[in-house]
Amino acid sequence: MRRQWAERLVIVIAALASLATSPGWWVVQATLPPPPPDKAMAVMVEASREPEVWIEDGRGGQKRLAPTVAARSPGAPAATPTWPGEGRYLVPAGARLQRVEIRERCKLKLCGGKCKPPDTEYVRVTSATAVDAWTAQARSSPVTTVLDTSKPLPRYRAVIKSSRLPVTFEVEGAPDGFTPSIWPGASGHLTELRVAWFASNPQAPPATVTWTARATIQGECPGPAACAVPEGEAVQIMAVEEEAPDAR
């Protein structure tokens, strides 16, 4: 009898633990402006805390943008110590603004109380202007890889040095039947990424492929006209090296 009650108690605890795997978030999202045709877009965002500005890069990937300029807007309330109240973001040409939001983890409430944002929290896109942008690109030396589905597929570490973020990273030269999966790692002055090859077709015959990594950064032109890459702005692929299997 005691075992039954103990078991029922454990079932309830296990069920609650499975449901409440993590506390929910409250989220406030800004209304997004329509995208400009084939141009980069400068977006001004006002928010009560640092917003997450996400773009869809046009190739199915998502990226979080860092502000190109962050400044206190006159009379903007409730800015946090790390967020001055207003920021300017550059959405590169070909990319689409996906979401602009602020969020905070709620305290876990299992027995009532919805996870709602406080009334003082806000985020809004105050302006969105089509702008000209410069583009800096770098390519790695060609890398030759043997892809054989009967063996563990190789994984590479790429290190990129860039004057700004985000860095768009692409692999050129993927053969049929194999797909490179790009995982972001540390991001900053040096961006580290991992490129892992996967067989999209497990029956694909072994292939020797020569591929190249390409890194791109973009920035807003200071004036209304197209411009060259400003001095001090650059991107460079420092290394693309295969990781030893025991390093995975």
Partner: protein, 152 residues
Amino acid sequence: MRGDPPPSGLLHPIALAAIALLIVNDHLLKARYPGWLTGKLSDVAGMVFFPLLLRALIVPILRLRSDLHPGRELRERLLIACVALTALLLAAIKLAEPATAACEQLLGALLGGRVEIVRDPTDLLALPFVLVAPWIARRAERRAAADRFVLV
């Protein structure tokens, strides 16, 4: 009179440890030490006890039907189905965007607010731990059978 229900295995020390690990990891360790290891621990813990929980929730429903009194063979089949379902759920949630989104919506609706699940294929490293569940369940049933034999 149908007698005591068979043990679910959830009182086994490994299952209890897995439940405790899930709670501590989700609500303490992930926030303090975000990283690769804490990202995997909850999946491993879930793989160990979730099939047992699933079966423990289904068996009473089967017992409500007089024609479906779950005997040993049916419980064993149910156990295998729960193990397979748990493994499939993890694989789907970690690999397929629609499955992740559906799970996020379900948990978000139950908890109120937005729940986010990180879709990371390397979390599938936790899959082999699902085999611990049937081992625990069979051990618990053998132990219960032995206890009954001693009592008789």
